[in-house]
């Protein structure tokens, strides 16, 4: 074995090694460790730096208003005035920085029932619906504009007497049809309703205009009139003010 530092006594070398180790450890702890590991304030500052440097995902509604003035004006006048844009559209920091990145817009019924589904724990007076009874086959946005939601309106002159029909029709797929789409009403009907009744369609061909499989009408339920219940009039099975009541049971659209 070759001696380690032959000119020095071995005990001296050992003490030297121990001393060198001690010096290295002390200087490491003293000068080389980052301050954030030793100093409590430095450590906290480093944490605060890390926290504040995190990326923002939600831009805040002020960022939206800068460009979307018109939509904001509509929204500020409606029932959704206190909603932040990002409540429905999701995090939009990306869109605020680069308008080509489009934020998500959820048009499904689920997006609305998230807040407006009937729930007994919700505060009294908050507008809520039963999605099974409330026009189950139409998207909410067909009738309610999300930026200024209002219930669709039945002509007042009809509603004044036919309130029950109006309420039924309000939540049915036929809600957007004025009463006069199907009924021809003489002016005299308002004066002497029983003597001059409102007219109803007389045969199947009237419904077929929208509901036969040959019809070009969009968004309607279509059937083949040649084979579907040819012996009957449509309204013997389907109640025109709430057509889905019999036809679809509790089927709902998501």
């Amino acid at each position: 074995m070759k001696p380690f530092f032959p000119k020095l006594p071995e005990a001296f070398v050992r003490v030297g090694i121990v001393f060198a180790l001690f010096i290295t450890t002390v200087s490491f702890a003293r000068w080389m460790l980052p301050a954030s590991l030793k100093n409590r304030n430095e450590q906290r500052q480093a944490t605060i730096t890390r926290e504040t440097a995190k990326a923002v995902h939600y831009a805040g509604s002020n960022a939206c208003t800068e460009c979307h003035e018109k939509t904001n004006a509509t929204k500020s006048a409606g029932y959704h005035r206190n909603l932040s844009c990002e409540t429905c559209h999701g995090a939009t920091k990306g869109h605020a920085e680069d308008p080509d990145v489009k934020p998500a817009t959820d048009r499904r019924r689920d997006a609305c029932t998230r807040c407006h589904l009937y729930d007994p724990s919700r505060p009294t007076g908050f507008p809520q619906i039963n999605p099974v009874a409330h026009n189950p086959l139409k998207q909410c946005v067909t009738c309610h504009k999300p930026h200024s939601p209002k219930p669709p309106h039945v002509p007042e002159e009809c509603q004044a007497c036919h309130a029950q029909i109006a309420r039924t029709k309000e939540v049915s797929p036929h809600v957007r049809l004025p009463c006069t789409t199907c009924h021809t009403v003489d002016v005299q009907h308002k004066v002497t309703p029983r003597e001059v009744p409102a007219k109803i369609p007389s045969d199947r061909s009237f419904c077929a205009r929208c509901h036969s499989s040959e019809s070009t009408m969009k968004e309607t339920q279509k059937v083949d009139f040649a084979t579907h219940g040819e012996k009957y009039l449509c309204w013997q099975c389907h109640y025109p003010h709430m057509p889905e009541l019999h036809a679809y049971g509790t089927k709902t659209l998501r």
Binding site: T49, K54, L117, P120, R122
Partner: protein, 249 residues
């Protein structure tokens, strides 16, 4: 021979550690807050109006999105509880799963007397038990009153999770460190609202400066009868509730 090699190796290791340490020291970050922000001038709090919460869970979703909280149901910084109080005084509490439509069917009891939602989050206690118990000093209160966790120092021992009387902390499975609500510290220091407050559709959550007379929080504190959760623990929460039912724990 063996000993010599050991000493040589030990010295090499020490030298390497020294170099690494100096690199880490050189990479030390500059001063903390964004420009123009003085933490000592603020003292944040939150107000929650129980009467306005509809339990939609938008706040929970936004929080997860904003703070990179794992999207599964077991991890959350804020959450909503549904309370059902029955005729015989029994109290049923369920956590609401955000976005689970059809929640209207979940009330089982026929004799429910009262039912309502309670949003919960870290109370940012003025006297935080989680800070007291941390064995490595990784969690602390900032000058503006927010309790933060130093993820670099946290050893993931879960002591703080046990100590929090409100159950507001969780162990982040991505980092294996304790995580909690920070009032969206990266947002509020830039003048933005916390994500949950931003998206709440009914203004059930109100955020602001406790010391300011002009913040929406000041109005909330003036116009409502306030209460905090578990006041007997003397944690002095900075999240205050209005219309809070006596059964809420």
């Amino acid at each position: 021979m063996e000993r010599r090699r050991f000493v040589e190796k030990g010295l090499t290791l020490l030298a390497e550690a020294g170099v690494l340490g100096s690199i880490a020291a050189a990479a030390k970050p500059a001063r903390a807050e964004p420009k123009g922000y003085d933490a000592s001038k603020h003292y944040y709090g939150m107000g929650i109006q129980i009467d306005k919460c509809i339990g939609c869970g938008k706040c929970v979703e936004a929080c997860k999105e904003e703070n990179n909280v794992p999207k599964d149901v077991a991890h959350f910084r804020t959450w909503i509880e549904r309370y059902v109080i029955e005729q015989d005084g029994a109290v049923e509490v369920q956590r609401v799963d955000p976005g689970s439509n059809g929640s209207h069917e979940t009330i089982s009891s026929e004799n429910a007397v009262r039912t309502f939602f309670v949003p919960k989050l870290c109370n940012q206690c003025d006297n935080p038990p989680c800070v007291q118990v941390c064995p490595v000093g990784a969690t602390f209160k900032t000058a503006d009153g927010v309790v933060l966790v130093d993820a670099d120092r946290c050893i993931g021992c879960r002591y703080c999770i046990q100590a929090c009387p409100y159950g507001a902390r969780y162990l982040n499975p991505l980092t294996d460190t304790a995580d909690k609500c920070t009032f969206c510290y990266h947002r509020i220091t830039k003048g933005l609202l916390p994500a949950c407050v931003e998206v709440c559709p009914t203004q059930a959550r109100i955020f602001g400066d406790i010391n300011s007379n002009a913040s929406p929080l000041a109005r909330f504190r003036r116009m409502n009868k306030l209460h905090v959760l578990k006041p007997s623990l003397n944690t002095e929460p900075k999240v205050q509730y209005s219309d809070l039912d006596g059964e809420v724990r």
